[in-house]
């Protein structure tokens, strides 16, 4: 029974590789399958960031078009399209709230993390549904402040200085919470990601 997640992850990787090849051949039906596979998780993530269903749908559309247009740079045998797509989705959403909030856009960082070659040799099954439980459990091990800084960083794209201003706390305190939170997550999720 405990082998099921591993088998599912393996199947996901195999299926993703074939899907990437078809996307690179510009098969429109492959885009439909990509959407069916990752549309909901991308939408859920973007909605969590922008908190507006209409804008979230627009940004999901942008995300899939961006992936469609950049997929040629992907190594089908090594790439993990799910984590890459999710990174693009997060960047689109954070870019949006930065622009509407009058915050400076972190262009270099976003262009860099958007690049598909950074997602080679990554496990596609990392986004399998069984992982959600593990993530939830890991986040529950964080203190409220630790959890808040991780959420502000991941879902709002705030820097540590911006978090300190938002939370009304000294920068050093925020940095301590961030490091402590990342250590907990590294211990809890790191092993999961590597052993997926």
């Amino acid at each position: 029974m405990f082998l099921l997640p591993i088998l599912l992850a393996f199947r996901s990787t195999e299926a993703d590789a074939a899907l990437i090849v078809r996307l690179q051949r510009r098969e429109p039906q492959a885009l439909a399958e990509l959407y069916d596979r990752y549309g909901r998780i991308a939408y859920s993530l973007i909605l969590r960031v922008v908190r507006d269903a209409g804008i979230a749908e627009d940004l999901v559309q942008e995300t899939f078009l961006r992936v469609w247009n950049r997929v040629q740079a992907f190594d089908a045998q090594k790439g993990a399209i799910g984590p890459w797509l999710l990174a693009v989705a997060r960047n689109r959403a954070i870019d949006y709230i930065r622009s509407t909030g009058g915050r400076e856009r972190n262009t270099v960082e976003f262009e860099e993390t958007d690049h598909p070659s950074l997602y080679t040799d990554m496990e596609s099954g990392i986004l399998a549904s069984d992982k959600a439980r593990v993530v939830k459990a890991a986040l529950e091990k964080l203190s409220p402040n630790q959890r808040q800084v991780i959420e502000l960083a991941y879902f709002e794209g705030l820097s540590q200085t911006e978090m300190a201003a938002r939370m009304g706390q000294p920068l050093g305190t925020v940095k301590t919470w961030v490091r402590a939170a990342l250590k907990v997550l590294r211990d809890e999720l790191g092993a999961q990601a590597v052993s997926a």
Partner: protein, 250 residues
């Protein structure tokens, strides 16, 4: 810096929190193909990717799939601006591919233009839908909140096309909260029906389209409350907006 000095910074880097000089150092290590940094950054990115799964599950409207496929020419929409812009986008993309191998900077420039074109298509599509509803022969308008300081606006209602809510003085909901739309049934004792979440702009304005038929015989009004961002099954007082549906003139 050597890799061991960067050991505690890979997760910060993956999360976008790394500061100088560590950020530049990791970037430089990755640029020259440092195996330790490549491996550690990959591990950190995997961990960060897992956080994406912690967002509350939500489902987009079925129309979104069609919109995405239509934008790459899979399914044709009705008459409108989209085919024209899709053609422009395709030309820009073809140009990007052609010049990409020869001139990387130019290719990036074309890509930015393509992104802008795509954003314009999306915005035009939204505005087209909104104007189509506002100009519909059966569309009626009701005002709300006129005698109160906040919020106020208008509701455009078309039985076949849906409703368009335009409001002001609706400040952005705080972190963890969002506004939820409700269809208020006419029948006594019937429960309000959730009709989607939204967030207002930083200036307190909102233009929210609710596409699809709405029956004024069974629905009395559109209401808005502030809820947790995942949405709730029943509205939480206070009700911020109540906009009655005005039946179409016969």
């Amino acid at each position: 810096m050597n890799c061991s000095e960067l050991r505690d910074h890979y997760e910060l880097y993956a999360l976008g929190l790394a500061e100088e000089p560590e950020r530049d150092e990791i970037h430089a290590h990755l640029g020259r193909g440092c195996e330790v940094c490549m491996s550690e950054t990959k591990r950190a990115r995997e961990m960060v990717a897992l956080l994406g799964g912690s967002a509350a599950p939500a489902a987009p409207s079925p129309k979104l799939r069609r919109r995405i496929l239509a934008s790459v020419g899979v399914e044709h929409r009705g008459f409108g601006w989209t085919p024209l812009f899709a053609g422009s986008t395709a030309l820009l993309l073809a140009a990007a591919v052609y010049f990409g191998g020869r001139e990387a900077d130019f290719s990036r420039q074309v890509e930015r233009l393509t992104d802008q074109s795509r954003a314009q298509i999306i915005e035009l599509t939204r505005l087209n839908e909104a104007f189509a509803l506002m100009n519909g022969a059966d569309t009626t308008v009701t005002s709300f909140g006129e005698k109160k300081p906040v919020p106020k606006g208008k509701l455009f209602y078309n039985p076949a096309k849906g409703a368009l809510l335009i409001a002001s003085n609706l400040p952005p909901a705080p972190a963890g909260k969002a506004y939820e739309l409700w269809l208020i049934p006419k029948a006594k004792g019937a429960n309000p029906v959730p009709a989607g979440m939204f967030q207002s702009q930083s200036d307190g304005t909102v233009m929210r389209l609710m596409p699809g038929p709405i029956d004024a015989n069974t629905t009395a009004a559109i209401a808005v409350t502030m809820e947790v961002e995942a949405g709730v099954a029943a509205p939480t007082p206070p009700i911020l907006i109540v906009a009655p549906l005005a039946p179409a003139l016969q």
